[in-house]
């Protein structure tokens, strides 16, 4: 019976462990850059401009997001990049994790964020973007602009690896980079 319990307990732990290892820093490190807009669930536009990668043994990048669901729009501005990750299941996507400041409804507060950017070819209508904040705000990852290859909405570029741009050694875990914040 104890053995059965151990097995039953181990299965979800093993699953969680495999999930935790699903995202890691690409090696050699590469870059992702992009700008554009998505239509959020309210029907409003959210504009973004972002880039990420590795540099000087650390992570590198910048993230801006403006959600026009409110007036004035709520916006996120990154202050520190703490992670740059890939998931082999989504080879065209990269996640950028970090800390930032949100301005919304007259107040400013600090958050952690996780952004997903996905380059699905040119000219960019099938590229995808999403963002998840530690306060619960989320734009689930979705196509830029109106859905469809001709939908417009900007462009995301996944650039080739650059062996001379190095991340932290040893590479931190997904939890260390994103503090448990899930993929948007």
């Amino acid at each position: 019976m104890k053995t059965l319990i151990r097995i039953l307990c181990a299965l979800p732990l093993a699953f969680l462990a495999s999930q935790a290892e699903a995202h890691f820093v690409p090696a050699p490190c590469d870059f992702i850059t992009g700008g554009g807009w998505v239509i959020v669930d309210s029907g409003a536009k959210a504009n973004f401009g972002a880039h990420g990668g590795c540099k000087n043994g650390d992570f590198w990048g910048h993230v801006n997001v403006l959600d026009h669901s409110s007036s004035p729009p709520g916006h996120l501005k990154s202050t520190r990049i703490t992670g740059y990750l890939m998931d082999p299941a989504y080879p065209n996507a990269r996640d950028i994790c970090g800390e930032g400041t949100v301005s919304y409804n007259g107040s400013n507060f600090n958050v952690r964020f996780r952004v997903r950017m996905e380059d699905n070819g040119e000219p960019g209508g099938l590229d995808r973007f999403g963002v998840h904040l530690s306060n619960g705000y989320k734009i689930t990852t979705r196509e830029l602009g109106p859905p469809g290859a001709t939908g417009g909405g900007g462009n995301i570029q996944l650039h080739k690896p650059n062996p001379s741009t190095t991340g932290p050694t040893p590479a931190p875990s997904e939890f260390e980079m994103c503090q448990g914040l899930g993929t948007p």
């Binding site: 401009g49 880039h51 801006n64 997001v65 040119e122 000219p123 939908g151 417009g152 900007g154 462009n155």
Partner: protein, 207 residues
């Protein structure tokens, strides 16, 4: 590479009257020279900027990545909202530039542009540009929801599309080949008296 021109329909008494698509680069004359991205700067530089404006000799740049000095040193920046009072405002500005041993690339973009030059209002939902220099030199622009003087304008997709207005010159998807690379401005607006010159979404790549 990137070259999408999805613009709101409607187009274009203004465009039909004023556009001269496909204007050869050589015909642009002094427009591509000087301070602004297009002809100036060192030929090997790789850099990007959201907006670069010269007004009466004063240069102002928004979301300027700076120039890449080494392949191990990518550069980039971003601004949530930025403006040059009385001239231009934009959101979600972003610029990034990077090099490899065999290639250089840069990208710039912004949203919700509101630009006024010589009394003419120019707006766009999105402007972006990219440049890559390596074995080949390629670049392109994305322009969405462009209006000039309140009239929707549909870009042709051709590089260096010139729109001539009274006292004003507008170039869409301006592309300039240099000795070692390429410079792309998604939008370039200049007064004919030379006092105001604005480049929007500039990507420069040189190697």
């Amino acid at each position: 590479m990137l070259l999408r021109w999805r613009i709101a329909a409607g187009a274009a008494a203004l465009a039909a009257a004023c556009m001269a698509p496909g204007l050869a680069q050589a015909q642009l004359g002094g427009l591509v020279g000087g301070i602004l991205p297009g002809g100036g700067g060192s030929s090997g530089s790789t850099q990007a900027a959201g907006v670069t404006a010269v007004v009466a000799g004063v240069v102002t740049s928004l979301a300027n990545s700076g120039t890449v000095s080494d392949p191990s040193q990518p550069v980039g920046t971003g601004q949530t909202v930025a403006s040059i009072p009385g001239l231009v405002s934009a959101e979600a500005l972003h610029s990034a530039a990077m090099t490899w041993t065999d290639q250089a690339a840069s990208q710039a973009s912004l949203s919700n542009l509101a630009l006024t030059v010589a009394g003419t209002g120019i707006t766009a939902d999105f402007l972006g540009s990219e440049a890559v220099a390596g074995a080949t030199r390629t670049g392109g622009s994305a322009i969405e929801g462009l209006t000039i003087g309140g009239v929707a304008v549909t870009p042709t997709g051709v590089a260096n599309q010139l729109i001539s207005l009274p006292g004003l010159s507008v170039i869409l998807n301006e592309q300039t080949q240099t000795a070692s690379g390429i410079v792309v401005n998604a939008l370039r607006v200049r007064t004919l008296d030379g006092l105001t010159d604005v480049a929007v979404a500039t990507a420069r790549a040189g190697i």
